[in-house]
Every structure is written in structure tokens, then in C-alpha cells.
């Protein structure tokens, strides 16, 4: 069980309609269907992952969210999810605006580039951080828009996005864990941030 699934599950109501943008192999939607009886729909562009979804019986639409989500009506979903995908889209702010238009509430999770290990890597080596969690080189990474916890908070403030809940995880020491320490200094200590937002 992925720990972020449990956190997200807390923020999703029973029987609600959920859209997962960049749903991958459909594991999160499958989890939410089993535990929250949601009516789920995924959006994905990777054909292998689309096949994985179909094989699981997860409904999935082949569509590139970067090219717009105009086919989804305003407030047509209870919750729109974007997990570990924000940093990979071409226009994170545009995708976020679209999510807030389509969903009554949104859940966004992303890796925190402000984590102390990333800072140390950049400070001492003077190179873009490569780690277990960010295994790509700067030139071949799909993660083209890294941000920090503080960056995301600032975007929310600028765009009048209300944060309903925040959750931070540190996965740097093996098993993922949350702690008061991580919650106190998330921008330094969290490897992963989870936000539950609305407008």
C-alpha cells in the first residue's frame, strides 16, 4: 500500500466522482474504487499504462492534459487528482486552473525540490540533483517543472486557491513517514507534498 493513497483516500468522499489526470496504471483509482466506492475516470497518454488500466477494468481516456481539458465540463467531478504529474506537464498553472474548473476539489501531489538533499546536492556538487526519487539526468527527465513546497504555496496564494489540507512525507530514510518535524519544516524535510485544494 502506498502511503499517499491512504492520505488521498481521506480527502475523497464515498461514492464521489473522481477524475485522475495522469492516472498511470490505474492503481490509485482502483484503490479508491475499492475503499471509497468512487466512480473513477482516468486520463493518460502512455499507451502501456492505458492498457494496464483497461486490463484492470479502470475506465481511462487517452488524452493529453497539456493540450487542454475543454471536453470536461465545469464542476463535473467531485474531485480531480493529479499525482506526481504536476512537474511533468508543460503548463502546470494551466493544468491546475483546468483541474479547479472541472472539479469541486482537487488533490495535487508532487516531489519537493526544496528538500535538503536536493539543496545539498546542488550546493556541493553544483549539478542538478539525481537521486532514487529523481533518477533522471537534466536532459532526459520528464520532470520539466520542478517546484518546492514554498513555490506551490505561493502559486495557490496568487491564484486564490484555498488549501483544505496539506500532508508531507519524507521518504528519504527508506519507509515513508510523516512526523511533526517534517510538518514543521516541510520545504526542507519533505520529499513529497500532498495538497487538497479548492477555490
Amino acid at each position: 500500500m502506498r502511503s499517499d493513497f491512504l492520505a488521498i483516500e481521506e480527502w475523497v468522499s464515498n461514492g464521489s466522482r473522481v477524475l485522475d489526470i495522469g492516472c498511470g496504471d490505474g492503481a490509485l483509482l482502483q484503490h479508491l474504487q475499492a475503499n471509497r466506492q468512487v466512480r473513477g475516470l482516468g486520463v493518460e497518454i502512455d499507451e502501456t499504462k492505458i492498457l494496464d488500466c483497461v486490463a484492470k477494468g479502470i475506465e481511462v481516456i487517452e488524452q493529453n492534459a497539456d493540450q487542454g481539458m475543454a471536453n470536461f465540463a465545469d464542476n463535473s467531478f467531485d474531485t480531480v487528482l493529479l499525482t506526481q504529474t504536476l512537474q511533468a506537464v508543460h503548463r502546470p498553472d494551466f493544468v491546475l486552473e483546468e483541474m479547479l474548473r472541472i472539479g469541486k476539489e482537487c488533490v495535487i501531489t508532487f516531489p519537493n525540490f526544496g528538500h535538503w538533499q536536493a539543496r545539498r546536492y546542488l550546493l556541493w556538487r553544483g549539478k542538478m540533483p539525481v537521486s532514487k526519487f529523481m533518477p533522471y539526468k537534466w536532459y532526459d527527465t520528464p520532470n520539466i517543472h520542478f517546484c518546492t513546497v514554498r513555490d506551490f504555496e505561493q502559486l495557490c496564494a496568487e491564484r486564490n486557491i484555498s488549501v483544505l489540507h496539506r500532508s508531507f512525507e519524507s521518504r528519504s530514510t527508506g519507509d515513508s513517514h510523516r512526523s511533526a518535524l517534517v510538518d514543521r519544516w516541510p520545504n526542507l524535510l519533505a520529499t513529497h507534498a500532498l495538497y487538497h485544494v479548492t477555490r
Binding site: 475516470l41 475506465e59 465540463a73 463535473s76
Partner: protein
């Protein structure tokens, strides 16, 4: 696609190679069945046929729970012969043999597959070439015009005859996809899945234009005789052949035709001092395709099918609102399109998908890369087969969950 070279090779079976019907993945030898319905069949146009006959084939076994039946709907020029071979010298299998059989996407070890020659067809079901009992002569142009809903209604009559209470899935490509869509609205409780491949909510003006050009080729053939060619002992072979050539060009992608034929010559030469007749390979190919079709297909049926295709508009009676139309559906949908299909382009499939999303219906959609144009839905395109297979395994799992064995 089926070019002259490959079909003659298939027919030859040199070297005593085993016939395709003996392959483990083939449904083997199959025989069409006839179903006679003696009740009056009222068409959407308000006409009444005094009883109808439908020719169909089935593959696989209906399980004890009777919940594993799949209806396969054919497209413009298809028929009931979707899989297997009619004899051990049959040169080629049914039109969807790539997808129907043991271990194939529509796995006949799990499903009871029903494929019917549509009413108005020329594969043996009641149609324009059948005898009108009132006159003792062929119906010809007097056969009622039909809509997609008439096929769905007649398939429903056959369904009751077969003892199938609910289709596990109704599946079709192109015009067959339109039937799968119409099923979902006309008999929402009688199917659990609608699988719609390379289809549309309605044809575009461009599509109707192509179809009308094909129709014009047929009716302007001097041998057409206003559709009463059977009475004259002739048939509009040239017109039908041209109609098929027009269709065939539009079912392929420009790139594929370029790769396959380029500007290669079948006969003659461009050498100076040479004035003999030249023929491009693409000309020879299309002529073969046209003639082969014209020798085996009834012109009045082709006209009827083309018109049904043109007239289809899923949302017409729902105030042209596809979302309102789909609110009546209760099944799940799988929609697929092909990147180079310009006759039923991915944009047309997206219209179906978007309306289903807005109607809050369960839907999956994939746009499959393929160079084969509209014809892709008939071909063993790998990603397409995997997706269809994965979807159908879920349909099968559901059959078991609902109490069906195997």
C-alpha cells in the same frame, strides 16, 4: 485489405500446408444458420415486411447462465461470416477472423459469438434480392429502406430466438459501431458493454459526399435499370465496381497507398519512343478490388446500406443532443479510433467519448497509431488487438462474477 497477390497465394495452399481452419486459433469450419421470423416486421420507415429471414453464424458455446453472448455487427459490405472457414478449401476466413477465435481478442473459449447478416443484406438474409411474396419477383428497388435501428430491432428478434437474455457485449466497427451505439439506447437493459470501433455519432458532409458519388456510379450504370436489373437478367457491374473503388480509396490512408504502390507500373513503360498503354499498380489493384466486390455484392443492398449509413444520427430524436441521448444508456462503453483514419477520424470518436463523459457514463477511449486508415479495424494492429483483448477479458471476468462458468 486483401490484394490479388495474397489471396491467390492463400487459395493455392502449396506444399500440402495445413488449411487455416485447422489452426488452434481458428474457430475451424463453420456453417451459416437460417432463422425465419414469421411475424410482421415493421420498419422505421413505416413499411411492413411479412416475415423476415436472417442468416447468422455462431462461434463458441452459450454458457448455462446464458450471460456470455456477444453480438458482432458488420459494416457496410460485411456479412454473417465473421470467423472460420466454410470448407477446407475455403481460400480465406471470415472478415473478423483476426479477432474472433480461441485465444483471440474475442475468445470463443469464453464467449458465444453471434454474427448476423443484416436485414437488407445480400448474404442470405431478407433483402432486395429476395423474392417479394406479394409479386413473386425480386424486391429490387421496392425493398423498404432501412435504418440502423431496423437492424438493431431485427437482431433483437434473433436474440430472443437464441434464448439470450442480455448481451455481454455488442461490438462493431464503422457502420457496425453505429449499431453497437444504437443498441445502447434502444435496448439499454439488454447489453452490458458497447464496443465501438472507428465509428461516429453521424456522418460528416464529406462522408455523405463520398457515399453519394458511389451511389451515382451505380445508378448511372446502363445495366442498373432503376434497380430492376434482376428482371433484365443483368447487373450494374461497372457502377458497383466504381462505387467500391471510391470507397476503397477512402478506407486506406494516403501514406499507406504510397508505401504499397507508389508510382510503380503494372504494365507498360515510360521509355521514349514507346506509346503502349501504361497501368499503375494502384489502378490494377483497385480494378481487382472493384470487380471482385461487384461479382459478389448486390447493388440494391449496397445502396440501402450506404443510405442507412448516411441517415444515421444517434442524437436526432434527442433534440440533437448526444449527451441527452446517452443518458438513456446503461452499459459501459469502449471506444477506439485509428490515427490515420480520415473517413471516421479520431475526432469523430472523441465526440462520442466527450458526450459519454458529459452523460456520466463509464467509458474508455484509445486512439491507436496505425498506418492502415479506416481499414485498421479489420486488421491485426497489435495495440488494437491487445486493448480489445484486455477489455474482453474484463467482460469475461464479469460473466463469471454474474454466475457464468468458464
Amino acid at each position: 485489405m486483401n490484394d490479388p497477390q495474397t489471396s491467390s497465394q492463400a487459395a493455392g495452399q502449396p506444399g500440402g500446408k495445413a488449411h487455416g481452419s485447422t489452426a488452434a486459433s481458428s474457430v475451424g469450419l463453420v456453417a451459416p444458420r437460417h432463422f425465419r421470423y414469421d411475424g410482421a416486421f415493421r420498419t422505421s420507415g413505416g413499411r411492413e415486411l411479412p416475415g423476415i429471414e436472417l442468416v447468422y453464424e455462431t462461434y463458441g458455446e452459450l454458457n448455462a447462465a446464458k450471460n456470455n453472448a456477444i453480438l458482432v455487427c458488420h459494416a457496410l459490405s460485411g456479412d454473417h461470416h465473421a470467423a472460420g472457414y466454410h470448407s477446407d478449401s475455403d481460400p480465406k476466413p471470415g472478415w473478423w477472423d483476426e479477432h474472433i477465435g480461441p485465444g483471440k481478442a474475442i475468445d470463443t473459449r469464453h464467449f458465444y459469438v453471434v454474427s448476423v447478416n443484416n436485414l437488407g443484406g445480400c448474404g442470405g438474409s431478407t433483402g432486395p434480392s429476395s423474392i417479394n411474396p406479394e409479386t413473386g419477383k425480386a424486391w429490387g428497388p421496392d425493398f423498404p429502406s432501412l435504418r440502423v435501428r431496423d437492424w438493431v430491432d431485427s437482431q433483437h428478434i434473433l436474440m430472443e430466438h437464441l434464448g439470450v437474455a442480455q448481451w455481454a457485449a455488442v461490438i462493431g466497427g464503422s457502420l457496425g459501431g453505429m449499431q453497437a451505439l444504437r443498441w445502447a439506447l434502444e435496448y439499454p437493459d439488454l447489453l452490458r458493454h458497447s464496443v465501438v470501433i472507428a465509428s461516429a455519432l453521424k456522418l460528416t458532409a464529406q462522408n455523405i459526399g463520398f457515399n453519394n458519388t458511389a451511389r451515382t456510379a451505380i445508378i448511372s450504370d446502363p445495366d442498373f435499370h432503376a434497380g430492376r436489373y434482376q428482371e433484365h437478367g443483368v447487373w450494374p457491374k461497372n457502377g458497383l465496381s466504381i462505387a467500391r473503388m471510391i470507397g476503397h480509396i477512402t478506407y486506406l490512408s494516403g501514406d499507406l497507398m504510397g508505401q504499397k504502390f507508389g508510382r510503380e507500373l503494372q504494365a507498360g513503360s515510360f521509355a521514349r519512343g514507346n506509346e503502349e498503354a501504361l497501368e499503375f499498380q494502384v489502378e490494377s489493384y483497385l480494378r481487382y478490388q472493384g470487380e471482385k466486390f461487384a461479382d459478389s455484392f448486390d447493388a440494391n443492398t449496397y445502396l440501402l446500406m450506404l443510405r442507412a449509413l448516411d441517415y444515421f444520427d444517434l442524437a436526432r430524436e434527442y433534440a440533437d443532443d448526444a449527451v441527452a441521448a446517452f443518458r438513456h444508456a446503461r452499459c459501459k462503453f469502449m471506444i477506439m479510433s485509428f490515427s490515420t483514419d480520415w473517413r471516421f477520424s479520431p475526432a469523430r470518436s472523441r465526440e462520442i467519448v466527450d458526450a459519454l463523459i458529459a452523460a456520466e457514463k463509464p467509458v474508455s477511449y484509445a486512439e491507436v497509431d496505425s498506418s492502415y486508415g479506416h481499414d485498421s479495424f479489420l486488421l491485426p494492429v497489435q495495440r488494437y488487438q491487445k486493448l480489445l483483448g484486455a477489455y474482453m477479458r474484463q467482460v469475461h471476468a464479469e460473466c463469471i462474477a454474474l454466475g457464468g462458468q468458464s
